[in-house]
Structure formats: C-alpha cells, structure tokens
C-alpha cells in the first residue's frame, strides 16, 4: 500500500468518525493549549518581575545597617549593645571607593505637608543629588540640589502630590511647609506609577541634612550605591564591607545586597515556577495520550470485522498496523496544531486583559507541547495498532 493511500485512507476514517475524532482532538488540543498558556503566564510573570526590578536602578548595591547572623555568638548581643548605626560618614567613605560611581544616603519618614490651605501626610525621602539618577527617577520639571545648593531647603514633589497641592498653578518656586520647616519646591517628579510596591508619585524628597534634623536622627536608613560597571559590583561589595568594618572598629555589622543577586534569584525562582507549571500541564497531555490509546483500542475492536476483511483481500499485517498508526498520528497532529493555535489565542487574550503582563508563550514551550503531544499520540497508538495487526483474519471475519 502506498504511503499517500495509507494517509488518505486514514484521513477518511478520521473524518467518518466525526464525533469521536473531534473529542480526541479536543482533548489533545486542551493539553497543548494548557502548556502554551501556562508557560506564557509563568514567563510573563518572570519578565514582569525582572523588568520591575531592573527599573529601580543599574548596577545597584544597597547597604543596610545591622547584620543577619546565621551562626556564631554576636558579642554585642551579650553586652546588650545594638549594632552600630550607619552614618553619613560611612556613606562618604563609601563614596570615595574607586569602584563606586555615585552614592545616595537615604532616610525615610512621614511628615505633614501643607501649602495653599491644603494638608496631608506624605512619605519623605531624605537624600542627596544622586538619588534621582541612581533610582532611575526622572524629574518632569526643575532640578534637585543642583551644584552648590546641597544644603538649601529644597523639596521635590511626587507627580500626584504636585497635582493635589497645585492643581492650577506652577509648583516650581512655591513655598511649602513640611513638618515645622519651610521648603522651596525646586522640582516635580515625572509620574512613574508603582514599582516594586512603592509609589514614587506620592513621595517628597528633601536634602539628607534637613531630613536628619526633621526626624532627629544621625543614622541612615539605607545607602544606595551605583557601581561603575557590572563587573565592579562584586569588588564594590567587598570594598564597602571592608571600609565600613574598619570605621566600625572592626565589626562587620552591615549587610550589602546587590540588585544582581536578587535579580538572578528571582529569575531562577520564576523559571522553576514556569517549568513546574509546564510540567503540570504536560500531565494533561499524557492523559490525552491515554485517551487516544483507549479510543484506538475501542476502534480496533469495533472494526474487527473490517480488519479481517482487509486481510482477506490482501492487506498484510504491516498495512493494518500502518493504517491504525497513521490514524492516531493524524488525530494527535490535528490536536497539537489546534492546541497550539488555542494556546496562542489564550496568550493573546491574557496580554489584552493584563497589558502590563508580557504573557508571550516561550518558543521552547510551544515546541515541547507539540512534541510531547505527538510522542504520546504515537506511543499510545502502538499498542492498538499492533493489536489490530495481530488479529486473526478468520476469527475477525466471523465477528459482525
């Protein structure tokens, strides 16, 4: 029997058992679609988090006071001492390191902002001129602590704050009261919305000196550092640890987090999540494969008389095996293609519904989904096909 005739005959058979074929194709398609959509979701979530995290800075290191001890006795704890504070002096020392491009000390607090008969509580960041570039914030208007004005009572307003307080007038140049001090509005941030759960539209930024006076503290909340290049991140971390250790009387009592390390951890976790989800979806493909096997086995017993007849008129076992095998492969192939299209459509719907989620199905997942569908289909058809081929013609013909 020629290949073209085998395929054509099997194709006709698939068409003639319409409902049965549709159900198998649907089962297969749902499995493939599940793989495609779920990996699109997983990969989309991964890209979303990575983008968000990358957007907070480049080659970023964060210094936190205190140290999470995992082992050993901390002498200070025995003596009832708290870890040493992180101070502006530490920040300045770090700023002199050759691996560091720029640094921004950071204090965070709450204060009441009042102007033009309006009053509201705002989150206050105290820092220096470098905060804005390091944190990838953009000024819509004005400037912040431009050269020679480091200690001026300047304030930068978040986009939403500026809109609320000065809906009709220009915010720049206005005087506002923050806590007990008066500030001159020198800049307005561009609206950036929420990144990493923290909305830059509703903050105000003032010089670090003023912030420390306002919150009556000499210690820093964080120091943000931008390394000179990607390869300088790790050396910078070591240099920072060494510098601060020296100035803290040999006590290593700070923690340095690199954006890079967090990024790759997130990447790994979310990639593992995507794979796990794909694996779960793949189970539905195996189930579909078993369904194909079942249906083909039923087909063999339903068509016993037909198989006997085919043998009587000269079909060899090989012909019979090929016919059933081709039938199963056609069903699986149709299911895989339909599933791929369904999956692409589902991902498109996801992207339309959640525009911020880049839910593109990864190519590897689509390929893997289709391949697994075909392999399970082929494996599942082997048993029924060989059962059909082994049927004894005389007995087969005897059955109606």
């Amino acid at each position: 029997m020629r290949l073209v005739d085998t395929v054509q005959t099997s194709f006709k058979t698939v068409l003639s058992y319409r409902i049965r074929s549709l159900l198998i194709i649907l089962a297969m398609a749902l499995g493939v679609a599940a793989v495609v959509v779920l990996t699109a979701l997983g990969d989309g979530a991964r890209n979303y988090v990575i983008n968000q995290f990358s957007s907070i800075g480049t080659n970023l290191l964060v210094v936190l006071p205190g140290r999470a001890e995992t082992s050993g006795a901390f002498l200070g704890a025995v003596l009832g001492q708290t870890p040493r504070d992180l101070t502006l002096k530490d920040a300045q020392l770090i700023g002199r390191l050759p691996q560091v491009r720029r640094y921004a000390p950071l204090n965070v607090g709450e204060a009441e902002l009042s102007a033009a008969n309006r009053l509201r509580a705002v989150t206050v960041l105290g820092s220096n001129v470098h905060l804005i570039p390091i944190r990838h914030m953009v000024l819509a208007q004005g400037s912040f602590l431009a050269h020679g004005t480091e200690n001026n009572a300047q304030i930068v307003l978040g986009a939403k704050i500026a809109r609320e307080f000065f809906p009709r007038t220009q915010a720049i140049g206005q005087r506002v009261r923050l806590g007990d001090s008066r500030f001159l509005v020198s800049g307005v941030l561009m609206s950036q919305g929420e990144t990493m759960g923290y909305n830059t539209d509703e903050i105000v930024i003032i010089p670090i000196g003023h912030a420390q006076v306002m919150f009556n503290t000499t210690s820093l909340f964080r120091i943000l550092i931008e390394a000179k290049s990607h390869s300088e991140i790790e050396p910078a971390k070591q240099a920072i640890l060494a510098t601060v250790k020296q100035s803290h009387d040999g006590e290593e009592d700070i923690t340095v987090i690199t954006q890079d390390a967090i990024l790759s951890t997130f990447n790994r976790i979310l990639q593992a999540l995507t794979l796990a989800v794909a694996g779960i979806a793949a189970i539905s493909l195996i189930v579909a494969g078993i369904l194909v096997m079942n249906v083909m086995l039923v087909a063999v017993s339903q068509r016993t008389a037909e198989i006997g007849l085919l043998k009587a008129i000269g079909a060899s076992s090989v012909d019979i095996r090929r016919l059933f095998f081709t039938e199963a492969v056609l069903l699986s192939l149709a299911g895989a293609i339909l599933g791929f299209l369904l999956g692409q459509f589902g991902s498109l719907m996801l992207r339309l519904t959640f525009p911020q989620l880049p839910a593109w199905p990864p190519v590897w997942a689509s390929m893997a989904g289709i391949t697994v569908a075909l392999i399970t289909g082929i494996l599942a058809s082997m048993l029924p096909a060989s059962k059909a081929a082994k049927l004894d013609a005389v007995n087969a013909l005897g059955k109606k």
Binding site: M1, G308, I313, G314, A315, S317, A393, V394, L397
Partner: protein, 227 residues
C-alpha cells in the same frame, strides 16, 4: 492448480482436540467449478479458509500453481491473497464507511496501484456489474443483491485465478441468489477457478464437481454428469 496433501487442522475445545480437517488430500485443476457441501461443523469453511490462506494448517502441504504456499511469510501470503484469490462472503463484508466504488477499489489500493489506473479499473467493474447508478452509495443504502454484486466486483477487480465463495447466497432470497450465482458462473466461464461452499443441495448441484464433507473428512467427490 490447487493441490492439498495431508492437510490437518485441529481446534482445541477445552482439553479435547477436534479435527476440523483430518488428512485432506485434494486436487483442483485451474478453471474448475467445485462445490463443497456438508453439514455445519463438517470442516468445509475451514477448508475454504485454508485454500484462501486465511488459516494455516497444522500439518500438510498446500501448493498453489505449483508453488508451496504453506511456508510463505505472512507478507507473501498477503500478496497471494491480494493477487490470486478473490473472496465472496455470505454477509458481504463491505466496509460500511466506504461507498460502493471505494469498496471495489480497496484491493487495488492495497496493491499500491496509482490512483488514475484504479479509477479506470473501478469504472470498468461498475459497468460490468451494473452498479454505475449506485457507485456513490454506501452499503447501507444498497439492496442485498447489490451488496453482493459489489462484493463480487471487489473480489474480481484484481483478476484473481481463484474465487472462493462462502455461502454467497445465504443472505439472499431465491431469485436474487440465482442472479448472483449466474454472475459467479460467468466468471467461471471466463476461466476462473470457482469454489463455492454451501449447504444448499440445489446450489451445490450446479457445480461440475461436488465434494461432500463430514467431520473433517472428504466423504464424496464426484463429477456432475450434467456439468
């Protein structure tokens, strides 16, 4: 030319061996018209299945056209069934999904013949068996006589040298049965060996040679004087 030598076929019913064919020796010349008769269980259908290579004897030799076929591989036997033997069954055995024309085409498809040549042959067969009007109908839409005509057209499309018919009129009324028999006899007149299994005495009597079987053995083997 068919030659069976000491053919034995046993079936097992529980622990008891039943001889369906017991040491059968038979020679049928090319172009003969033979009927095999006997009560049910006499082994006549088993004999026909062995002649048609659907069943294998436990022992003995089967030569078809001077060629020993008992030892051939499954694939080679399939080829012989395809090219030299045509089957006609009591219950027609048409594929219900396929049209009359497609049913007739099946053996040609199995033989690997290209589609254009198949269409020509099928067209001729439809013409010869007066099935042109019914070519695109499925078996369920055909009468019994038409179904058996399709089955005969399918059995002869490869121009086999032997036609094996197992109760070919068993599911047909008398008149249609007679028409079907004359179709088969026409094939015989054109030189095909025709072997008909039946338990209908009247039908068996039409053959030129009648073989009577009982309990797996050949009881009588006589030439018909009128044949």
């Amino acid at each position: 030319m068919i030659r069976l030598t000491a053919i034995t076929r046993t079936f097992h019913m529980g622990d008891q061996a039943v001889y369906a064919l017991n040491n059968i020796n038979l020679q049928i010349a090319s172009g003969e018209y033979v009927s095999i008769m006997g009560p049910s269980g006499s082994g006549k259908s088993t004999l026909l299945n062995i002649l048609g290579l659907l069943d294998k004897p436990d022992s003995g030799r089967y030569e078809l056209d001077e060629k020993l076929v008992t030892d051939l591989s499954e694939t080679e036997q399939a080829q012989i069934r395809r090219e030299r033997i045509g089957f006609v069954f009591q219950s027609f055995h048409l594929v219900p999904r396929l049209t009359a024309a497609e049913n007739i085409e099946l053996p040609l498809t199995l033989s690997g013949m290209p589609s254009e040549q198949r269409q020509i042959r099928v067209e001729q067969a439809l013409q010869a068996f007066e099935l042109k009007q019914r070519a695109q109908h499925r078996p369920a839409e055909l009468s019994g006589g038409q179904r058996q005509r399709v089955a005969i057209a399918r059995a002869t499309i490869m121009q086999p040298s032997v036609i094996l018919a197992d109760e070919p009129t068993g599911n047909l009324d008398h008149q249609i049965g007679a028409e079907v028999m004359s179709l088969l006899e026409d094939l015989h007149h054109r030189g095909t060996t025709l072997i008909v299994v039946t338990h209908d005495r009247e039908l068996g009597a039409r053959a030129h040679r009648q073989i009577g079987m009982r309990d797996g053995e050949i009881l009588t083997d006589q030439a018909n004087a009128t044949g």
